[in-house]
Symmetry: none
Subunit: 195 residues, 4 copies
DNA sequence: AGGTAACCGAGACGGTACGTCCCGTCTTCCA
DNA sequence: TGGAAGACGGGACGTACCGTCTCGGTTACCT
């Protein structure tokens, strides 16, 4: 997928590799997966993998991304807070499902692989952020959010706690967390009491 | 530091190993560091490392933790927001300094090593969280924060965005980010405008 | 048994070590036996072994030698050939018994350990050779062997074929081999036929 | 040379390995030689050695065998005894040359490695024995040896004393030994004197 | 229609690090 | 001071993968 340009590329091999990668995410898991194992399971020469991907992380990222359905778009019922809650509940569900483990591994791998980091960001994080941002903008236009609110930071504040728990393992992300985050953000209680 | 119990342990070797680990964090970096390199640089047999630590990540964690000064306590000038800002500025400084890179690597490594995750949490994250929490509680007692505010979530909301940027590489954590987070949290603008 | 001189030596430890060596000859076998295993099984510090023996081969040699009864002396019925046959049968029995395996291992070890070679020779081979030689000399005095016969070489010729088979594994040493050796040596058929 | 079947094998690597083995026989010697040293000197990965040989002894055996010229055949001047003497002198020369040391080491190693023992026997011992046997049979046909003589045992009796001295270190094999062996075997003096 | 150039499978190759085993020395504490 | 215990520096083990390479074979295009 990177260096040699060709439509002579074998679609059969490509799919077999992605398929094998997905399967190996399940069983030995991302960390214990090897290029050799992918090649063997896909019935493919190692060279064929190295020809199109730079690392196992790149293969897995492609594999995960390919199998992901176009993803439902951000809900819009007219009530921003309800919509945010619904969407964040969905994210929590995803994060706590076993199928999410390899995503976490990819984020970990990306810490020492800038190119991978960029691709993870572009493929996985950015689209969700953009949608959330768009929903907030619409809400602002609807008057459900202050004109002066810092929407960019709002997006970060909404999702960051989920990733925080996911990656620091302080606790699993959860629905109550979502509720508390929304409460804090929408009530602004982090301010002095009025006497 | 885990399996064999003994006070016959060589303090000389222990320190040489931790020292070597720190040095190797700088030069080849955590990812390219190997147990063999640590042993060689420390002038120590590999077995001596494996006897006391289960992985290079464990060694590095101990090394980083040992070299860390008792850590300045949370500032308390009487103004919570100012104190939070000061402390978070400090965290931003730390995170963007080259010396922080290995911490990031440890968090990455912890994604596939639950025991390491626990130790990272206990040694690095938990104490900071506790201090922040304590400061917020004092602020609440002082009436600078609403009685009903969810302080636990507040701590998460304050720090999560920093880790979010750090680990997802959306942008480097920064002072302006801190300012915007504090603004959003203290003004509660994520609410409908009053007409 | 070599360097430090002392009667403070612990007889208990010495016997435990030799005993352990014998037992380990049986189970993991000489080749797979280690100093550490001997120490552990003997309930002895490694240092205690190294203090008195230079190598595991030395320990095993002592152990084997100590457990060997003073050894029956060469038979003397008046008939040299019969006596030789009897004695050589006994050697064949010994060589083909499982208990002989470590002796073979010692001879092998001696190939790269001159000091061990000397001790193996002195303790194991030389006494038997001397006895055989003495019996042949008596036979010569009795007129059962030619005055001109080269008795030193005769001893070599009698025993060499047994060691030859033992060490080159062309075939196991056997009674028929003994018979055929004796026949060839006593009939001198390796000469032209008389017409 | 055993497990994977393939003509994809690198002849370059094979030769480099055998060459390195020969050289290391000279300098650190068989006992102190390591697989790692062979690999390093041959400029080869360790795996490449392990892929084709089970042990360093196997490598050395192949190396020695490959470098050995097809070997001069048994002399045949018409005089068996002279021919035997000539051939055995040659064996003595070989055995007492420094180049023979690794053969001795192989025989030692074979004591705890049945497969190696078989290969040493087949490659080194058996051919020589067969040639000697053939020469004796021809002598028997020529009437230079009794019809009833036990030729198989004769071969053993001729060579065994040389190996006996070589391996038990009673004395170095020598020409005088050869002479005395031949004398004893051809005169049959190990019999009662005729009055 | 034949030639040729690319991808493909297979897996050997030179290498590096792994985690383990044992070496022979040392250190510590006990009797 | 000898012995038990076992940690220590060291070095080789045999294995696992890395990423590159060579080797036929099989397409698919290009004359």
């Amino acid at each position: 997928m990177t260096p040699p340009n060709s439509d002579r590329r074998s679609e059969r091999a490509r799919q077999a590799i992605l398929r094998a990668a997905i399967e190996l995410c399940r069983d030995p898991g991302f960390t214990d997966m090897t290029m050799e194992a992918i090649a063997k399971r896909a019935g493919v020469g190692k060279q064929t993998i190295y020809r199109w991907w730079p690392s196992k992380a790149a293969v897995v990222l492609d594999a995960l991304h390919e199998q992901t359905q176009p993803s439902a778009t951000f809900p819009d019922t007219g009530d921003v807070v309800a919509d945010l809650r619904a969407q964040m509940y969905a994210v929590v569900s995803a994060m706590t499902s076993p199928a999410f483990v390899p995503y976490t591994a990819l984020i970990a791998a990306a810490q020492s692989d800038p190119e991978l980091a960029r691709r993870v960001l572009d493929l996985i994080v950015a689209p969700r952020v953009a949608e959330c941002r768009a929903r907030l903008e619409k809400a602002q236009a609807d008057g459900q959010v202050h004109d002066g609110a810092d929407l960019g930071m709002a997006v970060e504040l909404l999702y960051a706690p989920l990733y925080y728990r996911l990656l620091l393992h302080t606790a699993p992300p959860g629905r109550d967390q979502v509720d508390r985050v929304l409460t804090l953000l929408t009530t602004g209680l982090l301010t002095p009491q009025r006497p």
